[in-house]
Symmetry: C2
Subunit: 569 residues, 2 copies
């Protein structure tokens, strides 16, 4: 089969799914081409074992991948579940050579039609979905996510974010007519011009991934840049390379199979001792930077990068306002679960729960602040009680640094005489006796302890803050969002006037708000196609997953025009 | 009539035109709701005189406008046609107070529906069109544009750019569903959520205008920001305030009439001695900056502004490649006219004409480099010959600085022994004997004189450069575009293989290319809705008039979600 035919077939293969994705981002309904459960009822009996075996076969050996400018091999990943090194080494490459190779790959990719580029990305997504059991184990053992979360959150849920970005890229590129005829009278002359509008990619895209959720932001960034014709260099966190190495391997194989230069997707592995991101960031050929990670490096980029596109998602301090509730236990269970999920190592994990100091109204009458706090602690204890449940929800702690965060918070609370409502402690992981685990620390505080709870603490630390009133709580929560950034805020209230009073304020400070959610859906679950993630209106990041602004600048438009030849008009 | 009803009527009034504008940017056909000729056949017999009288009534008195934070009155405009001060003073305002007032105006504007905001902007455009004879005289006497160009280029053609931006704003905002229902099963639970997506403006927009074409970039920037819910502060060039003061006056009256705070549009006049732009640029509440003007200040902004949206159009070095032509005189006439229009004080004026040193092929046989150059000079002379024609095309020189540019170029050419093919000289303006005029200086050069012709010279200076070949000419032209920036490039060739060989290269360096255009349409005319202006791919600016990327980031999306109440689902 000719290369052109293969590509046309690929476009046809993915066309219906792309249409559905475009429909989903317009209607924002629940949709996914994938299943996010690892159940063998869906995937058959063999895949889970094969995926695990594929992961295990990676261990203690070099990750075989051909990359431009390879200099040496290195790797320093340690599993949060075994606390043993994975023993995998990756090629470290010379940035100049990687960028040179990326640039070389670009013209043929830019020449390919947008629908071909999009179909290639969708094919990459499908192949990554096929390898998702391998991916699940890989994410587990670098990030510490539980098996089920790793399977869903770092698999289909993340791929969905990628396909969502492709849908927006398709919309934005389709908005540009490829050609036009222009007819106008100038004086006595009837002028007829033919115009051609060419989509031109911007340049090399750099995708800097975080350690705790490497794939989730990487897919949309990679696919948005690739769809628009830009090559991408993937820069994983040095302690979480494996998932992104698998991604790069899959993308390169897909590109090569359809006759494109695999150097459209390269891997820029580095080490903690010799970080390489800055060399890419500063390189003039790198024109797009997608960054997910620490607020420290993110805000450094935000305050220094000029003349390039920069998309950031860092982190903020997410809050819950509990003004009143229908059912106390159900609401506090929702908060407890969100605070426990992946041991609060998520950008959507709540850190501060504001409760009026005088207590709140419930359907069963008034309850005190202490009773509300006790309900949250009790719901966390209920999770911890069963090691199996705890393991499925909390997973492991990615790095020692998060244990330090918890210890520092506990020490600071004691220093200031704050009540520790729940001590953090390891729980016994049923499958990995050596897992680095830590249940949530819960501290009671008042508004005057703001400097303690208003700093982002990346780990299982929850502050329950006594506010003067429900309105004071919402005022503090929105001010916290505005000044410290937030990705997800939560509110519980049965007073519609209270809700009405505050929703616009939350919007103005760029806080996405979940109201009165209880039950089976995690309150901090954000669904691609339906939920926007990050508003760009507060310090938690400048980019949104995903909207038109996430894609519309990744390509530019160059035009040419000339008279329509007589007879041809 | 209630305010709501008035606004609804306004939306209805402009709905069909908006639909047509959206259709035009999609089809990129020739379209405008306005007429760009000042003919009394279109506008009736009274408007021209009334407009002139309105302009004259402005002279030698304060421009009465109420603005927040007024401190003192000042004005230093001098007419390029009379070389006399206009004698108009404008209020200079305290930036803190202006920004505070803009912020205060914002919430009610943000709350208005996007279609109301867009309709208000379209109403402003219509009212500016109504005042276009006054605007034409105002632009003439600050910028130096000829009457007809001032009427069209700074009137309907500029308003079209504004409405084009509104069309994109409408498309981008309509892409966001206002609400959605989300239904998904989580485990055994059927979850039903209602979601609300709120468009949130970013913050105060600053629009910095240039002196030679104040309205053209201002309208799209103002309307794009306003449509997305942001207030705008208009910062005119201190020697070209009047047109923008009229714009601000018109916008404020329109806003007030429909019950909005006029401080949504304010004027930040300043003086050459005490420029005020920096105080706005640095203010944290200013979140959007649109800049048109010198490459020096533009690149300063591009290299220092972080954490804000920045849209720039500066200038570049536009080139013509003459590889071969059908009809020598017609092609050279097109180049001569483009080089003469507004005395080359346009961002689309050519500065360098590359011609193979060995000459070119024409339908009438081979002609030498000297013959090509002579044809250009002769076509310029033909314009200069008739003062009436010269006045209509060349207008006046905006400032002494452009005369200095011409004198410096002539001196440098003589220093380096380059042939001056045509000396520049004033021409006698038929209506304004004291007009500051200057016909094009034409210099013959070779590739080795690149440092002379590769610097932008803002004024009537044209270099005709002998290249080694047509391909060498195109190689130089595209390299010039890449390194020095360009907004419009031109090419003449009857060799389709040559054209095919180079169009992609022009696109890659972000050069919009006009090929083989002769006749009544000015080759450097860029039509809103059909021609994209600036690619953002080279140093001539980072923004495009207009595409989705020009508007899609001026608002952000904040969402909220909550369970659908039982019974309501």
């Amino acid at each position: 089969m000719s290369e052109d035919q293969k590509r046309a077939d690929l476009v046809a293969k993915h066309a219906a799914t792309l249409e559905q994705a475009i429909d989903a981002v317009h209607t924002r309904k629940s949709w996914s081409p994938y299943k996010d459960s690892p159940s063998t009822k869906i995937h058959g009996p063999d895949k889970p074992g094969a995926g695990k075996a594929a992961f295990e076969a990676r261990l203690n050996r070099p990750f075989e991948i051909e990359l431009p400018g390879m200099v040496e091999w290195s790797g320093e990943e340690v599993s949060p579940f075994t606390q043993e090194p994975l023993g995998i080494t990756y090629p470290l490459c010379d940035p100049e050579r990687v960028i040179e190779a990326a640039k070389t790959s670009m013209p043929a990719w830019a020449k390919a039609a947008p629908d071909v580029r999009i179909a290639l990305c969708m094919e990459m997504a499908d192949r990554l979905y096929e390898r998702n059991f391998e991916m699940a184990h890989s994410v587990m053992h670098v990030a510490g996510q539980s098996y089920t979360q790793s399977f869903s959150g770092s698999g289909p849920n993340a791929l969905d974010r990628g396909i969502e970005a492709l849908a927006y890229a398709a919309i934005a590129m389709a908005n540009v007519a490829p050609t036009a005829e222009y007819h106008r009278k100038f004086g006595a002359d009837q002028v007829a011009l033919e115009k051609t509008y060419t989509l031109v990619p911007r340049g090399v895209g750099l995708v800097i991934c975080c350690a705790s959720f490497p794939t989730w932001n990487a897919y949309p960034a990679m696919f948005a840049s690739l769809a628009a014709g830009n090559p991408v260099v993937v820069k994983p966190h040095p302690i979480a390379i494996l998932p992104m190495a698998i991604v790069v391997e899959t993308c390169r194989a897909t590109l090569a199979e359809f006759g494109f230069d695999p150097n459209l997707v390269t891997l820029a592995a580095d080490t903690l001792a010799e970080p390489v991101a800055g060399r890419y960031v500063d390189h003039p050929d790198v024109q797009i930077i997608d960054f997910t990670g620490s607020p420290r490096y993110g805000s450094y980029l935000e305050s220094t990068v000029t003349g390039k596109l920069l998309y950031t998602e860092t982190a903020g301090v997410n809050s819950v306002v509990v003004e009143s509730v229908d059912n106390l236990a159900e609401s506090m269970r929702a908060i407890a679960r969100a605070s426990s999920l992946f041991s609060a190592q998520m950008c959507t994990s709540p850190q501060v729960v504001y409760v009026p100091g005088e207590g709140i109204n419930t359907a069963d009458g008034h309850v005190s602040f202490d009773e509300v706090a006790a309900a949250i602690v009790s719901e966390i204890d209920a999770i911890v009680e069963s090691p199996k449940v705890a393991a499925g929800i909390m997973g492991a702690i990615q790095g020692q640094v998060s244990l330090d965060v918890v210890a520092e918070a506990a020490a600071a609370a004691e220093d200031q005489g704050l009540a520790i409502l729940r001590q953090s402690a390891p729980y016994d992981h049923p499958d990995f006796p050596n897992a680095r685990t830590c249940t949530p620390l819960v501290i009671a505080a008042r508004s005057e302890h703001k400097e303690m709870y208003a700093d982002e603490r990346f780990g299982p630390v929850l502050f329950i803050v006594a506010a003067e009133s429900g309105d004071a709580a919402a005022a503090e929560a929105t001010e916290l969002a505005r000044t410290r950034g937030t990705i997800s805020c939560y509110m519980y209230s049965i007073d519609e006037a209270f809700i009405d009073r505050w929703v616009d304020v939350y919007a103005q400070v760029g806080a996405n708000l979940t109201i009165n959610l209880t039950g089976a859906m995690w309150i901090n679950f954000a669904a691609a196609y339906s939920d926007y993630h990050v508003t760009g209106l507060n310090p938690a990041g400048n980019a949104c997953l995903a909207d038109l602004s996430f894609v519309a600048s990744r390509f530019r438009i160059a035009q040419r025009r000339r008279p329509i030849l007589q007879g041809a008009a």
